[in-house]
Symmetry: C2
DNA sequence: ATGAAAGCGCTAACAA
DNA sequence: TTGTTAGCGCTTTCAT
């Protein structure tokens, strides 16, 4: 009739509740023979543990730590704000969220924070990864301590992380190229690429995907080597201004990192004609305005709200040892034109 | 220290557990004065009821009914499959899902199914809406019986539905126009529009958005009146073949409903040169192949998995009377080019 | 109008 | 190695 309980299992297996519990939770002190009987009973009845009841009884609280980059980057600021708002709601689900802001592009700083999280004995850590040996070591230590690890937005290569939540950055780069190439149609010339840092995997992957498609499908367009603006507006402005002065035949720009305020400033100052077609990442007040003004042509975006929500769901499943639906972590890259701004 | 419980409230208010419970659940049989005291205690302690514990004790099961269109349309078939897979997992969360397939574009049939759901006294109904007076009446009856209603994919206008889960279809139409217009760049000519039926709101809205942007931004392109193919491949093939014969200057096609197998067949047969640019909805085996073969140029998509997941989350919140985050229901329209196929 | 006590499914301290 | 018992926070008879 209704779902079988531990009582049913105990009765069928002819043992007490505690014995069922011991088997259920893999605690020792149960004879092999008895274990068999209990397991058989569970299978026979199709028993599935009621996690809510279990959590109630053990007064369990999930403690999840987020390590995200600090700095003026408005994308990361939004992320921090998002976490704050989730923190309140999550309490209802017995989930306690802590957040620490670590210096960006700094593997040592991130590793140090992960070490701290391990000492606090949290249940899981979610982080925006920076590639570095220290970080990989710290992650491996976390896993060793039975702490779940999820990477968010920027992944860690070949690491022992449990899951990644974010967009497919190679695909995002390819999308940018597909759009930019089609928008530039026919017009030959050069394409400038602006990155934040090649130390973070998301930027590396976007560049890779972009170049793949550009080379294969739009051979008339010649790619300049990427410049690294550290996601900072001032630096991006300076670098791009130089580029625009050096090359008068730039027909397209792909900005795959932050600092787009600087990008726009440089464009406004240069007043090229015809203006270059521009594809950037992350919808902010700046990029939205630029889209409306016809200075940017497309903005690729990842929905931070969904990313945080997915990360939390995955974390819970990981901690509860429930199988994780791989689709949960996949966030589609959203594309905004001036026509479909929300 | 840890979250206050009913016991704490009872102690502070100087009443018994049952009295606290009565106030908490709005049951009568409590003097005004006592109610005040209890409420004051709750406020003072910052009490928030533990829903999991509550559900455990009342052995509550959420019963949610889905009413979705039947038919050969592969998009709706995917939806049905998605629901099946969710049905198993949802059991873990004390949620029981029932599904019924109703004839498409048929308001009476849908209304009849809704009536049946009401008699079954389910907790909530999720439906892909068809516009009709009967349906609006049935929805209003459901709400009257305290049953939550969520529309999925296609909304109901000015109805008493609790929430809508799906993409912004006006915006999707605008996106299609933005892309098609830019892809056609310069080339003047006519644009064909293929719809399923103007009885469903999503199609109406897509058309609206498409025409808005086309008129405003691409006045060189002239729009043909939409043809209605009922989301059936054979019908779409036939209609489009006629259109292509009548007008030799078709530069673009927007298919905003189903039956894209027929669209492709007609295009393959017509062999126009240069081939028209094509934007369609829903990524299926057919449309994916057409994208790869360079017959379609962009596919707009809604992620059914996420839509079902969101609908379930919203339903639970609605039933538990927890405030619903409006962002939960908003599903972004995904855009696929040949370059970013998953 | 109010309260005492048993129980939801699971866990944990303590006996045996 | 196994079992008994008392909760977790909330709801629900059944008394008073």
């Amino acid at each position: 009739m209704s779902r079988p309980t531990v009582h049913d299992v105990a009765r069928v297996a002819n043992v007490s509740l505690s014995t069922v519990d011991r088997v259920l939770n893999g605690r020792d002190g149960v004879r092999q023979a008895t274990q068999q009987r209990v397991r058989a009973a569970m299978k026979q009845l199709g028993y599935e543990r009621d996690i809510m009841a279990a959590n109630l009884s053990r007064k369990r609280v999930y403690r999840i730590h987020f390590a995200i980059p600090d700095g003026p980057n408005s994308f990361m600021r939004n992320l921090a704000a998002e976490l704050d708002s989730h923190a309140r709601l999550a309490l209802r689900d017995r989930t306690e969220i802590s957040v620490s802001l670590v210096p960006p592009f700094d593997g040592r700083a991130l590793a140090a924070d992960l070490r701290r999280a391990r000492e606090q004995a949290v249940d899981g850590v979610v982080m925006v990864a920076t590639e570095s040996a220290e970080v990989r070591q710290a992650v491996s230590d976390l896993r060793g301590a039975g702490i779940q690890v999820v990477t968010l937005i920027s992944d860690l290569s070949a690491s022992a992380r449990g899951h990644f939540v974010g967009i497919d950055n190679v695909s995002a780069g390819r999308t940018a190229a597909g759009l930019l190439g089609r928008f530039c149609q026919g017009r030959p010339g050069r394409i400038a690429i602006i990155a934040g840092s090649m130390l973070v995997r998301d930027h590396v992957e976007r560049r890779l995907g972009f170049e793949q498609v550009m080379h294969a499908e739009f051979p008339d367009l010649q790619l300049l080597p990427p410049v690294e603006g550290g996601d900072e507006a001032a630096r991006v402005d300076e670098l791009l201004t130089n580029v625009l002065q050096d090359c008068r035949d730039i027909v397209g720009i792909y900005s795959l990192g932050g600092g787009n305020r600087g990008l726009r400033a440089a464009l406004d100052r240069a007043k090229s004609s015809p203006r270059p077609l521009v594809v950037v990442h992350e919808l902010t007040d700046q990029s939205r305005a630029a889209l409306q003004d016809g200075v940017f042509d497309a903005v690729l975006q990842q929905d931070i709200h969904k990313e945080v929500a997915s990360a939390l769901i995955i974390m819970r499943n990981l901690i509860e040892a429930v199988p994780v639906d791989p689709r949960t972590g996949i966030i589609h890259t959203e594309i905004f034109l001036r026509d479909n701004l929300p």
